[in-house]
């Protein structure tokens, strides 16, 4: 997902948004089946086999299937390249593990800065707003390219001269802007009466944010935050544009692809990402479904 396009905007995550309900997908698919009983399951199974069978048949008998198979699903090329790609993929994981905690903290800071009330904090609000607007508006790959190639070229003493730390910083800067908006949506979704109750007890603005507003906000935005985790895990591949001597999975697969004139290694890299992102996606959906159920039962009380 080039350019962090997967990063969610504010509008995407108003709690109570019906789209958050996507999480219940599995039960939405299976729910009607259960209701229809054994016959429904039978029909579903049969029609699934027929549809998939038709697709497979169409693909296998298409004019260029063999060339296609050769270029993208070459078992020998995959076998030769996959161990190295997998090794390189460890870098993606490390990048993710370094970037994510920094993003979570920086973004929360930005969101709180934007939420501070009162004229005294006007400059902080402006700074945070400009930051978020800027980095949401620039493609992530551009930020990574600029920092990863640009800053080491300056040869400033005391600063890292390798591209990777700077590329990581680019990823962090860009994602913090998105995640800050997720947090902010959470903060704004906490009803003003909560702040009024806290202030009426004598808690200050800062105490109200810290003990009453932010804890509730963070709980509400866990699912969208997980979505951003997934996007970030994928976007570690963007570091490929500057990673040179320390290739991550995507660049490693490109190296093999260039050597073999075959695209199967890139598919291998894709598999690496899927192994991580698929379970995370399922988990996020499950969590969203659970939260929605909780909310509904809470409303019924």
């Amino acid at each position: 997902m080039v350019g962090g396009g997967g990063g969610p905007g504010l509008a995407d995550f108003q709690p109570g948004d019906p789209r958050l309900g996507r999480g219940d997908r599995s039960s939405k698919i299976l729910g009607p089946l259960r209701a229809e009983g054994g016959r429904g399951v039978l029909v579903a199974t049969a029609s699934t086999f027929i549809v998939i069978g038709l697709i497979v048949f169409a693909v296998l008998h298409s004019a260029h299937w063999l060339e296609f198979k050769q270029a993208f699903f070459n078992a020998k090329v995959l076998g030769d390249s996959f161990p190295d790609i997998l090794r390189a993929f460890r870098r993606n994981i490390v990048y993710f593990l370094i970037a994510e905690p920094v993003i979570l903290v920086l973004a929360l800071l930005l969101a709180v800065m934007r939420s501070l009330p009162g004229p005294v904090f006007f400059p902080l609000r402006v700074i945070a707003t400009i930051y978020v607007d800027m980095f949401r508006g620039i493609p992530t790959i551009l930020v990574i390219y600029l920092l990863g190639f640009g800053v080491p070229a300056l040869q400033i003493p005391g600063l890292p001269t390798s591209a990777i730390p700077w590329a990581l910083l680019g990823l962090v800067l860009s994602y913090s802007a998105y995640v800050a908006e997720v947090y902010r949506a959470g903060i704004e979704s906490v009803h003003p009466s909560q702040a009024a109750a806290a202030r009426s007890l004598g808690l200050g603005r800062w105490q109200t944010l810290r003990f009453v507003i932010v804890p509730q906000a963070v709980r509400r935005v866990v699912p969208p935050l997980l979505n951003d985790f997934i996007a970030l895990q994928k976007d570690t591949a963007l570091i490929a544009v500057v990673s040179g001597v320390a290739p991550e999975a995507f660049l490693e697969s490109q190296i093999y692809q260039a050597a073999t004139f075959n695209f199967t290694p890139v598919l291998g890299a894709a598999i690496c990402f899927l192994v991580i992102t698929l379970p995370l996606t399922r988990f996020t959906d499950w969590l969203v479904g659970r939260q929605r159920k909780k909310r509904q039962s809470g409303a019924a009380l």
């Binding site: 009024a196 109750a197 007890l201 105490q207 804890p215 509730q216």
Partner: protein, 248 residues
């Protein structure tokens, strides 16, 4: 008797809507004032102004001889002395009942956690909710939640309690348990300002009833007089509508 609250010429407007139009009110220590009047007459706004939840436009509010509407007053210090309970409870849903009660004492008064817990235990015991101490608010009935909200305000040991239609959001069968708590507070000598639609309760508990109309106190007096022999035409009309609605 000492004067607890002195309000003079209080004005408050929301945009073009003038809610309070030069309201005057004087409350002595240990008085229980019930404020009645139609929706929009300014009852809630007055309470919110007294707690400085709403900034006022003009006029003055003096609490225990100190003008709290003067510039440069430490707002949080004022709020500590005045407890307010809202119609919609507004408990903190992510905290247990106990933590709801102890949050402000530990963070504002800097009471130790142990002592705050002990004080919370006493409050919960006194109002019969000790077994709910470790529950979260969404596990409680509306009446229980509102009682916790009252305890949460009491934990700050206020001199004055403001109650803003605290039973209006409750199912009828849950109203009594909340009113009992308020009754106990009145017996204990708490100075209270109560905005309410429970006329029977007002008649029962109030040392004085104030009828608010169009942003001022149109008529006030002992409950027997207001409810049986109102002087103002608008007070009569209001009480007749209440009787017609079967609320008295």
């Amino acid at each position: 008797m000492n004067q607890a609250i002195q309000v003079e010429g209080l004005h408050k407007r929301f945009g073009s809507l003038e809610v309070l139009r030069g309201l005057d009110l004087s409350v002595d220590d240990h008085e229980v004032i019930c404020m009645i009047g139609a929706s929009g007459s300014g009852k809630s706004t007055l309470l919110r102004c007294l707690n400085l939840v709403e900034p006022i436009d003009s006029g003055s509010i003096v609490i225990h001889g100190r003008e709290i509407t003067a510039p440069g007053v430490e707002v949080n210090a004022i709020r500590r002395q005045i407890g307010i309970v809202f119609q919609s409870f507004n408990l903190f849903p992510h905290m247990t009942v106990r933590r709801n009660i102890t949050l402000a004492p530990t963070r504002v008064l800097k009471t130790t956690r142990g002592q705050a817990d002990e004080e919370a235990r006493q409050l919960l015991d006194r109002f019969g909710l000790l077994d709910k101490a470790d529950e979260y608010p969404d596990r409680l009935s509306g009446g229980q939640q509102q009682r916790v909200a009252i305890m949460r305000a009491l934990a700050m040991q206020p001199d004055i309690m403001l109650l803003d239609e605290v039973t209006s959001a409750l199912d009828p069968e849950l109203v009594a348990e909340v009113l009992d708590v308020i009754r106990e507070l009145a017996t204990g000598g708490m100075t209270m300002l109560i905005a309410t639609h429970e006329m029977g309760f007002a008649r029962d508990i109030a040392s004085r009833v104030c009828f608010l109309d169009q942003g001022v106190i149109l008529e006030q007096g002992p409950p027997e007089q207001i409810f049986t022999d109102p002087k103002e035409e608008r007070t009569k009309q209001f009480l007749q509508r209440i009787i017609a609605a079967g609320r008295m």
